[in-house]
Amino acid sequence: MIQLQKISKHYPVGFGKNEILKDVDLTIEEGEFVSIMGPSGSGKSTLLHILGLLEEPSAGQYLFQGERVDKMNEKKRTQLHRGAIGFVFQAYHLIDELTVYENIETPLLYKSLSGSERKSKVADVLDRFNMVAKKDLFPNQLSGGQQQLVGIARAIVAEPRVILADEPTGNLHSDQAKVIMELFKQLNEQDKITIIQVTHSDLNATYGNRIIQIRDGHIQG
């Protein structure tokens, strides 16, 4: 499903450059639950951002379902972004000015779905996550775990093929973290959504079926 070939990423620093990723080759199949692990600054977040089209690699090829992403035009890339990829962040990153319902609805707005379609999809997700009662609350009225649930709900409402999660439980205590990880596992097994998470926690990594160790911009082993 996802193929990275000799992907590199570097930033200019002074007269030299700071290499984050070096010649990364990586293949992820449909339906996998992958955990990317590694120490701080090893490049795992950058890798995730490149996978999620938030950053562009400095060199190398990126194929998504056999298509060259780095050769896509802006429009096609946006479509891929909207239709196939969902994001979950460590800091939740909900829009503070919108209610739970509206936050979840936003990706559907960008996909230009009709009002009734949006309504039914958002209702489904709220129902599934047991959040119907909270739909009119604002993010700052929710606990961290609840906010992350909204974050995941928002990521899956547009029915993506892959969810990219950047330390999704990093700001949560262990009980909440467990709930979130169970949810990811369920999404992976029942809904067949490919999940790629960046995590520090060995425990969290056990929910997945594959671990990628990254160190100094290289994939180990």
Binding site: S45, H49, G52, L54, E55, T78, H81, R82, G86, F87, F89, A91, H93, L94, I95, D96, E97, L98, E102, E105, T106, P107, L109, Y110, K111, S112, R154, A155, A158
Partner: protein, 802 residues
């Protein structure tokens, strides 16, 4: 999608109350100003639009040239009427009427009314052309018989309160106690946007019934032009106005003389309301003034737009996270730009709605600079509201595009990765915009100071005569009996509170001109000069303390027998010393004395050559009264006013008593300047207001960002003063740059303005310094609202929150 944007917009506005309030206040001020100006422009350009076939109608106007000078007059010589009616093929219809400017008193059922010059002599052509709706009487015959009059509904209600239209028909109106006209028709008033405001139409044949009317209005001399003779032509739709003008020119040429030439031209009806060369009937709109107002509105609107850009980009970091998230879940830059523009639109629409409430206040404030008959209710008419809506959209686009671009440009990765603040847009952009803003405000402040300095100078300059404690009383100007004026003079002179009285012509200083051409033969050649004249009796000089430099005072005579000249006249006729002029014959009369120069008009006017003669029978109609000292609390003067009124009532029982102090006459010469000063006062106020709230917004934002820094500095030993200075210095830079930019701009513009005065105040350095100080004080005061509090805050509290 729209609902989502709208909700975010409203919630954001609500969440950032302070910034929204500052933004909206600025926008409301700017939009209100633009709204009021549009209202005026819309109102003025709507004049005479209701006249049927107005595009084919022209008014014939005259330009009379004589001895190198020319005068424009909105009337025509009377014989031109007959020519236009019969001899010009391009004319489909010629309509003429005479404005009645001679009737002094209109009496209805024993009650007197003044003549406001809204009474005309007209015939059926006139009422047909304007498309009057007849409420009573026969349109075809109402004006065909002598001694008939047609009233508008309003006028009928004034003269015959409580009577129906049918009851008014057949009633009588008495003009000057001698001409008795019967009401033969009542018409509906035209809409108020018309220059044809005449409310009383006397039938044309009435002119033939009265010898003095015939003499005044039907003067068949080709060389005399009166603005009361009005001629309108409706041309055939195929005809070219130039051809008609050429035809008229052919006829008038035959009658031009060597000394005086009259040229006729066609003024389109559509220009009538705006042509200041040829006055409209009641009020001529001044395009220049409209342009000034428009500029002011654009300037204020610009200031508000700058505020918006500054405040929005300054707090962009608050919105950066939202941009990042929206992009991460599929939003494109274009969509985000649209969203942020939409938010701006919500804000400007809100400001537009509030403007509808604020605009009436502005109309009251700018009252003196707006048409007096401006109907405020038109503010709520469809075209004005449409304009307001369109304006809100345009302002949203202009103000919103740059901030929207800045906000939508944030890259999701950069924003979402870190928690540090992100700067929105370039700081130098904001500083430049602030500098522009303050330059405009600074310009207004300096201009205000210069205008008021010139007004102060004009009112306090030594005019060459005494002007305090002098008042003038004008006798009814159509009173044919000079003995009554002398009687009144005697009565008033006898009052113990009165020092001295002169029965003369106009005051030494007055608005307008009064000049004649005078000839002097110095033995070798004729010297011809245009000379200002005043007609006066022998008490004129002592009342006004005019200095006699040579010879003797004038003696009072019924018609001119001798002259007093001023110094400039002496020089103009080529005499070296005042004494040399004494005894010389000028314009057929000897010069008996020479007076010192004095100002005869506003400071715009150079002191001209002037002659004083005595012409008691025709010209001495004004009493010039010098009072004794006002006494404790003005009691003496109160008694004087009462005594004068009593004397007046005994002699002119049917006329209103009124007087005017000379100081007031002088002040009234500067009506235009004072209106300008008033407008500038308001502009400076509003410009300062908008700029300063914008500055305050920026200060609030940066100071909040630096809370931690301030805490640390205070812990390290910084004093309150040092912190305030640190916070203020950066913001005073654009204010200082603005000051430096405003100096040359305002110097140039105000120097141009002062050039129109013959006697003017200087552009001294302290005017600019004072302007700068005012601006600096305003800016510092506004900033201190935030900076002082921030500097006084306890560092323990600010650092704990981190």
């Amino acid at each position: 999608m729209f609902r989502n944007y709208f909700l975010v917009a409203i919630r954001n506005i609500w969440r950032n109350k302070v910034f929204s309030l500052l933004n909206i206040m600025g926008l409301v001020t700017g939009i209100s100003a633009a709204l009021v100006v549009y209202l005026v422009v819309y109102y003025e350009s709507g004049f005479n639009k209701s006249v049927p076939e107005r595009n084919d109608i022209y008014r014939v106007v005259s330009t009379i040239s004589f001895s190198g000078d020319s005068v424009k007059n909105s009337g025509v010589p009377v014989p031109v009427i007959a020519v236009a009616e019969g001899n010009i093929p391009q004319v489909e219809k010629a309509v003429h009427f005479f404005v009645n400017n001679t009737t002094a008193r209109i009496t209805v059922d024993g009650k007197d009314f003044p003549n406001n010059e809204d009474v005309i002599f007209a015939d059926r052509n006139y009422t047909d052309m304007l498309g009057y709706e007849w409420l009573g009487g026969n349109a075809a015959t109402a004006l065909s018989q002598p001694l008939s009059v047609v009233l508008t509904k309003e006028r009928a209600r004034l003269y015959f309160p409580g009577l129906s239209v049918d009851q008014v028909l057949g009633k009588q109106v008495l003009y000057d106690d001698s001409i008795r006209a019967t009401v033969t028709g009542v018409v509906k008033d035209l809409s108020h946007t018309t220059d044809f405001w005449f409310a009383e139409m006397i039938s044309m044949p009435t002119l033939q019934t009265n010898a003095s009317f015939k003499r005044i209005y039907l003067d068949d001399n080709w060389g005399s032009v009166s603005s009361s003779t009005q001629l309108l032509l409706k041309l055939r739709s195929s005809a070219r106005p130039q051809e008609a003008t050429a035809m008229l020119e052919k006829y008038i040429k035959e009658h031009n003389t060597k000394d005086s030439k009259t040229a006729l031209s066609l003024q389109p009806l559509n220009d009538l309301h705006f042509d200041t060369d040829f006055q409209a009937y009641r009020r001529t709109a001044d395009r220049k003034q409209l342009n000034i107002l428009s500029l002011v509105a654009v300037a204020l609107l610009g200031l508000a737009v700058i505020n918006f850009v500054n405040l929005t980009t300054a707090q962009a970091s608050r919105r950066a996270k939202e941009t990042g998230i929206r992009k991460a879940i599929g939003g494109t830059t274009a969509q985000l730009i649209k969203q942020f523009l939409g938010e701006t639109l919500v804000l400007t629409l809100l400001a537009a709605i509030l403007s509808l409430l604020v605009a009436p206040l502005l109309i009251v404030s700018f009252h003196a600079f707006l048409p007096q008959d401006l109907p405020v209710t038109q503010l709520y008419s469809t075209p004005v509201l449409t304009f307001l809506f369109a304006l809100a959209i345009v302002v949203a686009l202009v103000a919103g595009i740059y901030p929207a671009y800045v906000l939508a440009r944030f890259q999701p990765v950069v924003v979402l990765k870190s928690n540090t603040g992100h700067r929105g847009g370039k700081v130098w952009v904001r500083q430049t915009l602030t500098a522009v803003q303050f330059t405009i405000a600074q310009f207004f402040v300096i201009a205000t100071l210069v205008v008021s300095k010139q007004i102060h100078f004009s009112l306090n300059k030594d005019l060459g005569f005494r002007k305090d404690a002098i008042l003038t009383i004008t006798t009814p100007w159509l009173d044919p009996d000079p003995s009554r004026r002398r009687l009144l003079e005697g009565r008033i002179a006898a009052l113990p509170e009165v020092d001295k009285v002169s029965l003369s012509g106009r005051t030494p200083i007055m608005s307008g001109w009064m000049s004649i051409t005078m000839k002097y033969n110095n033995g070798r050649q004729d010297i011809e000069k245009s000379v200002e004249v005043r007609y006066a009796d022998s008490a004129y000089l002592p009342v006004y303390h005019l200095r006699l430099l040579a010879g003797r005072n004038i003696t009072t005579t019924d018609s001119v027998r001798e002259w007093l000249l001023n110094e400039n006249a002496v020089r103009a006729f080529g005499f070296r010393r005042p004494q040399d002029a004494i005894g010389q014959m000028v314009e057929g009369h000897p010069v008996v004395g020479v007076v010192g120069n004095f100002n005869v008009g506003s400071m715009r006017r150079e002191i001209p050559a002037l002659a004083i003669g005595s012409d008691a029978l025709r010209s001495h109609r004004t009493l010039h009264v010098r009072l004794r000292s006002a006494g404790e609390g003005g009691v003496v003067w109160q008694k004087a006013f009462a005594g004068m009124e009593k004397a007046w009532k005994e002699i002119y029982p049917r006329d209103e008593f009124s007087y005017e102090f000379l100081d007031k006459t002088v002040e009234n010469l500067y009506g235009q300047e004072r209106r300008m000063g008033n407008l500038l006062n308001w502009c400076s106020g509003l410009a300062i207001f908008i700029s300063v709230i914008g500055l305050l917004g920026l200060v609030i934002f940066t100071t909040d960002q630096r809370t931690r820094e301030i805490g640390i500095r205070k812990v390290l030993g910084a004093t309150v003063w040092q912190v305030v200075r640190m916070l203020t210095t950066d913001f005073m830079k654009p204010v200082l740059v603005a000051f430096l930019l405003a100096i040359p701009c305002s110097w140039w513009v105000m120097n141009q303005w002062l050039q129109s005065f013959a006697y003017r105040t200087g552009l001294t350095w302290w005017v600019f310094a004072a302007g700068g100080v005012i601006m600096a004080i305003m800016a510092l005061t506004a900033m201190s609202v935030k900076t002082v509090r921030a500097a006084l805050s306890n560092p323990v509290n600010t650092l704990k929150t981190e």
